[in-house]
Symmetry: none
Subunit: 220 residues, 2 copies
């Protein structure tokens, strides 16, 4: 929307990038506002400007309330798969759709003119890279979710699933034992008390904090 059609790729000129950010940020917030009013829904928008400044939007509720609703969803309402489900359904499907459209465009251009349209091709390539990145991120999330599910024994309903979990747990246990052995060998060779304190895991601080506030469930 403007004098020229512009490629969706990083604007290299810094000033230009900042100006575009300001304009589009306002546009995005306006759209988010309209959506939240028209459809009477919660919308939270978190952005960081090119210079690292935080920009927020939320209506009716505070950002915290909406984040809370988000954070609460996975575990409490519909099971842990909601997160990745929602994620796939929005961003990834959007990407795939955009890719489809671009491919159509490219086809059309290739059909009607012999010259190769570099702009569309490079956009296509970038989008495909984006999708590859998206894939690995989704895989990460999925792995994360799987880790969690494996610890939730009650979710197992099929034999093959139980075997799958058993296998992964055995493999991981093996790895941990190897690591333990390595650490034991190291410990017997040479170590001072000071050494031990320094090497203490940073998470200990958090654990202490959690404990002192009664936040730790029985087992964890």
């Amino acid at each position: 929307m403007g004098r020229v059609k512009l490629q969706i790729k990083r604007i290299e000129n810094t000033t230009n990038r900042q100006v575009t950010f300001s304009k589009r940020r306002n546009g995005l917030i306006k759209k988010a506002y309209e959506l939240s009013v028209l459809c009477d829904v919660d919308v939270a928008l978190i952005m960081f400007s090119p210079s690292g400044r935080l920009c927020l939007f939320s209506r009716n509720k505070s950002i915290e309330e909406i984040l809370e609703r988000y954070v609460n969803l996975p575990e409490h309402e519909r099971g842990s798969l909601l997160k990745i489900d929602g994620y796939i359904r929005t961003y990834f499907q959007f990407l795939l759709k955009a890719l489809g459209k671009l491919k159509d465009e490219a086809d059309q251009i290739h059909t009607y003119q012999a010259a190769s349209p570099e702009s569309t091709d490079s956009q296509l390539e970038e989008l495909q890279q984006e999708i590859v990145k998206g894939k690995s991120r989704i895989a990460d999330i999925h792995k994360h979710e799987t880790c969690f599910r494996i610890f939730e024994g009650e979710e197992i309903t099929t034999l093959s699933q139980a075997e799958f979990h058993e296998q992964i747990l055995e493999e991981t246990l093996q790895q941990v034992r190897l690591r333990k052995q390595g650490l034991q060998e190291k410990a017997t060779s040479s170590s001072s008390a000071l050494d031990w304190i320094c090497k203490k895991d940073p998470q200990v601080h958090i654990l202490n904090f959690l404990e002192s506030n009664g936040l730790l469930p029985q087992r964890w």
Copy 2:
């Protein structure tokens, strides 16, 4: 944009509201995507559809990473446990502070007037319930994080940590084996093909989706 200019106010017709949500949600995600690419910035978008479904957008980083960046802003860059740490430091302390305020208010009212102020009391109660919920959520997040860390053997740096992981893995493995045994016994006694399909884990749908889009990494 459309045949008529429309007032920015809640659309009362339910069907219409849903349709508008679907359209504008896609538009908003597209805009957010363009902004994040053009200006090379982090953007996170969290929405709930009129029917309560979660819709997410983020590019490059996961929603969690961006939320993390948001939650951690006041603080400076620190270690890997930032998420839960930051979470506690902001949201939980916010809740506690609000509770303190409400308690003060309640005290004041109790001092200056004999009649029991139901409103403040009920607010107090709600907040306390909120805190209980917050506690369980924090515990959940922590558990989630711990599950993940346990699978990441390379993070283990102390012997006690290795033993802790080993213990949890052994316990979990034990549980999974018990479950497996139960399922095996059930399978040998009586079961139909229909039964098996019905009892299939709902996550199978997601797994199928992931698989069909080539999203599953080798092992997971």
